[in-house]
């Protein structure tokens, strides 16, 4: 095969891998096609009896990947699993020293205390390839 062709293919593949990993085009698409990505990051928080609940779906990763919540209120995290066997079930939230392999289906409620503004809480899965973040404002 011609060397130039090989180089072009190589660069094409590298760009493809870059898109998969950094995922910018795909997240952009989501926000432009349906604004639900932005909306859901608001919808996934709910305040009941003075406690803020942030709900995150756990299956093949975490969704939403970025949530926005209010700071200064006692906050609990609801991790929803539904037939989840992959890495996202093995949850690590380092800032509160939380480590657990979630039940394959169900809800796990995790107390986050009263988060301060500007200090995000980040969770990763055991192997580290899935993560989510909650920003407090």
């Amino acid at each position: 095969m011609n060397k130039t062709v090989i180089i072009i293919i190589t660069f094409g593949l590298l760009i493809g891998l870059g898109i998969i990993f950094l995922g910018r085009p795909s997240t952009n698409n989501k926000t432009t096609i349906n604004n639900s990505s932005v909306a859901s990051s608001v919808e996934n928080t709910e305040i009941r009896d003075g406690i803020q609940y942030v709900t995150i779906n756990v299956k093949g990763g975490y969704s939403p990947k970025v949530s926005i919540a209010k700071a200064g209120i006692p906050t609990k995290l609801i991790m929803k699993t539904n037939g989840t066997y992959d890495c996202s079930a093995s949850l690590v939230i380092r800032s509160i020293s939380y480590r657990k392999i979630l039940q394959k289906s169900g809800e796990e409620i995790i107390d986050l205390g009263t988060p301060k503004a500007g200090i995000p809480i980040r969770g990763v899965c055991g192997m580290g390839m899935y993560s989510f973040q909650i920003n407090f404002q």
Binding site: G16, G61, Y85, C87, G126, M129, S131
Partner: protein, 342 residues
């Protein structure tokens, strides 16, 4: 003194040396020939120094010796064979081939096809299906990458079609999973696989993959990455010992993989030895087809004419998977922030 005067010294070039063991192997074969008094291999310079008591010319000696060592993949020559260009061409082909596989693999992860919901009770049948999914998932980056790199390296070292270490590895994995699963079922909720322990094991595995990937690629032909001698003796053990491959197979139980961990929890809560045994056995059985394809596939590729291309492409794939596993593993233990989200 008399003897030394009769002896002729030749310095020949040798090509095909890819490992520290090659020195020993070549010297052993050459010293077996009765017309050779002494043979010494210099791996760095890729040269062989031969003392002979025969009156043959260098070409004649090379002809005889090449017949002996060519089956092992080495070639002697008077002039240094310029392989640089040829191997560079192979490398140029291997990079896109390796990248295609990496691309398809990560595309599969991103596509979400693997996120089928499997609800209900964990039965041996569901664990078998989960095993199949796991063997295609990002767990493949660690377990499959390790299997692939070890298989490629071992076949490259061996040059023989020795399938025994791979068969032993799979037996060790199947029954190791089953027995450990049974123990988990028996003990119940009392123990949990230590998170840090498995994370460190994962980091070690990914470093090994990166190193083997670079070694298979042979990018640095000038300062060839020869594996440290203790790792080399480890490979000899894997090749010739029955216990080492069995133990590695068993050790994959502790490698970080979300699916494995979920199944371990299922085995834990199953309550009896028999049920834990069955759950983990069927899970491991589900992962077998892909892993067997990787290990036995490398053996058959290594004996085809595409061997150099196969080793280099494997090097690209293994290096990529190793980097992926290492970076995610570091994020998992909190040393770095997550760089990506598959």
């Amino acid at each position: 003194m008399d003897n030394q005067e009769k002896n002729k010294k030749y310095i020949l070039h040798v090509s095909g040396t890819h490992c520290a063991s090659c020195k020993i192997l070549i010297e052993d074969i050459l010293n077996e020939q009765n017309f050779i008094e002494k043979a010494r291999v210099n791996l760095k310079k890729e040269m062989v120094e031969i003392e002979t008591n025969d009156n043959m010319t260098a070409e004649e000696i090379i002809n005889i010796l090449n017949n002996k060592i060519e089956t092992n993949g080495y070639t002697l020559s008077v002039e240094k064979i310029i392989v640089e260009k040829k191997s560079n061409n192979v490398l140029w082909k291997a990079i896109p081939i390796g990248l295609v596989f990496l691309f398809l693999f990560f595309l599969l992860q991103k596509s979400g096809i693997l996120n089928l919901g499997i609800g209900g009770e964990t039965t041996p049948v569901t664990s078998f299906i989960i095993g199949i999914i796991a063997s295609l998932s990002s767990c493949l980056a660690i377990v499959g990458g390790l299997v692939l790199s070890l298989s490629a390296k071992i076949t490259q070292n061996n040059n023989g079609s020795n399938k025994k270490p791979f068969i032993l590895f799979h037996i060790g994995r199947l029954f190791g999973f089953a027995i450990l699963g049974g123990i988990l079922g028996l003990i119940g909720k009392a123990i949990e696989i230590n998170f840090i322990f498995s994370a460190i094991l994962g980091l070690i595995a990914s470093s090994v993959m990166i190193m083997l990937g670079l070694n298979l690629l042979g990018v640095f032909t000038k300062s060839k990455i020869t594996l440290p001698s203790n790792i080399f003796s480890f490979f000899r053990k894997v090749e010739h010992d029955s216990w080492a491959p069995l133990l590695i197979g068993l050790g994959t139980f502790f490698l970080p993989c979300g699916f494995t961990q979920s199944m371990q929890i299922a085995a834990l809560s199953s309550g009896t030895f028999a049920s834990g045994f069955l759950i983990m056995f069927s899970f491991a059985l589900g992962t077998l087809p892909v892993l067997a394809l990787l290990s036995f596939g490398s053996v058959s590729f290594a004996h085809s004419k595409y061997a150099p291309l196969f080793f280099k492409s494997t090097g690209v794939v293994v290096f990529g998977l190793g980097m992926f596993a290492l970076l995610s593993g570091l994020a998992g233990v909190g040393i770095i922030n997550p760089l990506f989200n598959i």
